[in-house]
């Protein structure tokens, strides 16, 4: 099964990279840029039998640093 793990900074955690992107877009002449936040997308291929608690543990133990980041798990169609 294919998983997509979205790792994003928690609200309130400053994101200097996002700020730089915001300024760069404005510098290119795009108007109305109201914010930019940078996160990560991790695509995982796991056995179809992998249970939810194991996936959640992977996120908490390694994929996200829960001091500063949130994560969201998206399950794609199981492999045929």
């Amino acid at each position: 099964m294919k998983l997509r793990i979205y790792v994003t900074l928690k609200p309130g955690v400053l994101d200097p990279q996002g700020k730089a992107i915001e300024h760069a877009l404005a510098g290119l002449g795009f108007s109305g840029i109201e914010g930019a936040r940078v996160g990560k997308l991790i695509e995982l291929e796991v056995a179809d039998s992998t249970d939810d608690s194991a996936i959640d543990a992977m996120c908490r133990q390694l994929l996200a640093n829960t001091v500063i980041e949130n994560y969201r798990i998206e399950r794609l169609e199981p492999a045929k």
Binding site: V13, L14, P16, Q17, A20, Q61, L62, N65, V67, I68
Partner: protein, 221 residues
């Protein structure tokens, strides 16, 4: 005193810290590869060096924090063994959950590499006993991800418990409350972004860093 330096793939200050430890203790530290699962018998101090372990993949220190040797380091730290993490070593300690908070990309986005004035906030720790409280010392920094973050409640708690060992005397990287070095609750684990091992003799331009190692020797001897 027997000391150990943990070496991860991508560590690059491991030899610098080994030189500093040997200069103070008179014996070469054991260089312990990250795949080992035990510390050498009789180790009195563990140092986690600076560098770019695993190329900073995923997050700085994230991979190194899950390496086999870190289980042994965590167990030893829980029993009171002094552990010093410098720069990447600090990042590894936060990622391993041995220290609170996280180290994020510098607020200015630049890699900062220069001498910075630090204030010794707490001189009654195993690591700072040779300094005076409030003393200003010059120590080099060299990092991209040194922006210390913790939530307000955590910051209040560690400040209240005297666990901020060093503070930057200027805003170097955006760190919350200018925190440069943090202790665990028992006081035997210190993580700091600045590099005391790079300032231990006159040829380095100063030797303010040396006293950190001398203080440790006194404690463990």
């Amino acid at each position: 005193m027997k000391t150990a330096v943990i070496v991860f793939p991508g560590s690059n200050c491991d030899r610098d810290i080994a030189v500093a430890l040997e200069a103070v203790t008179g014996r070469k530290p054991a260089m312990v590869w990250h795949r080992e699962s035990e510390l050498p018998e009789g180790t009195g101090l563990v140092a986690l060096p600076g560098g770019f372990s695993y190329g900073d993949y995923l997050r700085s220190g994230a991979m190194a924090a899950r390496s086999p040797i870190m289980r042994a380091v965590s167990d030893a730290a829980a029993k009171g063994l002094p552990v010093l993490g410098i720069c990447n070593g600090f990042q590894v300690l936060t990622e391993a959950g041995l220290l609170p908070g996280a180290l994020m990309r510098n607020a200015g986005l630049n890699f900062v590499c220069r001498n910075v004035a630090l204030t010794v906030e707490n001189a009654q720790t195993a690591f700072t006993s040779r300094y005076a409280a409030g003393e200003r010392i010059l120590i080099p920094v060299a990092h991209h991800d040194g922006n210390y973050f913790a939530d307000a409640a955590t910051l209040d708690r560690i400040e209240g418990e005297g666990r901020v060992a060093f503070r930057y005397a200027e805003n170097v990287n955006g760190s919350a409350r200018n925190i440069a070095g943090v202790l665990n609750d028992a006081g035997n684990v210190l993580g700091m972004m600045p590099h005391p091992e790079r300032r231990i003799e006159a040829a380095h331009g100063g030797d303010e860093g040396r006293r950190l190692f001398e203080g440790l020797l006194e404690l463990v001897a």
